[in-house]
Symmetry: C2
Subunit: 215 residues, 2 copies
Amino acid sequence: MIGARVAKGTRLRCEGDESNALFYVADGWLAVSKSLEDGERQILDFILPGETYDPTAADGRTSFVEIEALSDAVVVTTDRAVWARLLRHYRDLWDAESLRDIAAHARQSERMLRLGKCSAETRVAYALIELCLRLSACATPNASAFHVPLGQQQLVDFIGLSSVHVCRTLRRLARQGIITTGDHMNITIHDVAALADLAGVDLAVLRAEIIPSVA
Amino acid sequence: MIGARVAKGTRLRCEGDESNALFYVADGWLAVSKSLEDGERQILDFILPGETYDPTAADGRTSFVEIEALSDAVVVTTDRAVWARLLRHYRDLWDAESLRDIAAHARQSERMLRLGKCSAETRVAYALIELCLRLSACATPNASAFHVPLGQQQLVDFIGLSSVHVCRTLRRLARQGIITTGDHMNITIHDVAALADLAGVDLAVLRAEIIPSVA
DNA sequence: CGTTCAGTTGAGTTGCTTCAACCCGTGTGG
DNA sequence: CCACACGGGTTGAAGCAACTCAACTGAACG
């Protein structure tokens, strides 16, 4: 189990020597992504402080994703086998992890639905809401204004639209007074209800599905 | 633990009394999907014989998906707590499940990438390849010809395009001699290489990532 | 023989992308 | 201190991929 500081922008290697590794993020944001040969990239999920991610593919050896630090971060690397033993022994840990797993899975599913079936506006609105929910769950209690440590390019890769169109859509939302964007992706949501409406979600339901509760 | 025969087309309830349930599919195909209020539906994954699925959301109570039997099926319903205990006690079971989990996760990620970034042709090709791989792994050793127990509508909900466009794309592939479609979604892949090429995947790599190996 | 329903095809439309120009804050070297 | 280049974000215009609408086919069934 090795803790390490990683600088913003660093790509974490998940293959070769480091295989069978599993990441625990102590601080900072990571992005998990996959890319095509032509350079197109899709961000699959963000990893927030306190969460773990296992990048191992089904063959148990290689990784199927790329992981990148979106901010300076502190990442702990653990051997999968060791981690598994811990999970088996400590009931609480197991429960907590299983909850986080479920939440991650639910989030990914929700995103797939939007990706496959929704308009640009809905997709953008949904992404903002998801980020807002996750952030307010882990840090700020204030639900409406938050800072996203992402460039537009990352947001774009997350949403799955062209940067041009994402930009347009954000501006439209801003013009409608639903959000304000400051410098460097400081986003303030003024009208959460309107945004949730555009995203086609019920805020309370979504939170229950997506955010690991301490039940 | 209750085993039950379910007829093709049945919707499995995952809420209320049946909450905290987890499904093991002994026989037949299930589809896991999510839908929008407007009726649009996205199929998130298929569950094949021998696989399990936990439809529980992060609040531990409600479900966040709909599950439907695509064929007549035999489904075993288990309490999550009981299942968790089994997993903790039987190391082999835990390993196998964790492998399946990883594979499912890798599949879903791969699909998200296609959903967000790829053309219709690529998405259709990829879907066919994935189905083919999974089927040939679990049943037919013959990789090229297989029967998909799906109507076009299901395939459409899986791929995330309009039925019209999926149809066109399939016909185009057929005209190019890459596949043949028989009655009721009997699909034969004549040129796996060409299809993999269109899908933008390396067949061997994909198999390693997506299919739980018995390693 | 008529009805129904899944799949197929054509024609017109739209939403997103692409391309290209531009703006502006930041860093850099003369 | 100014000139300049640079990169991220914004905007306009044009193109194209996928969607919608609508008509048709053919198999399945009473």
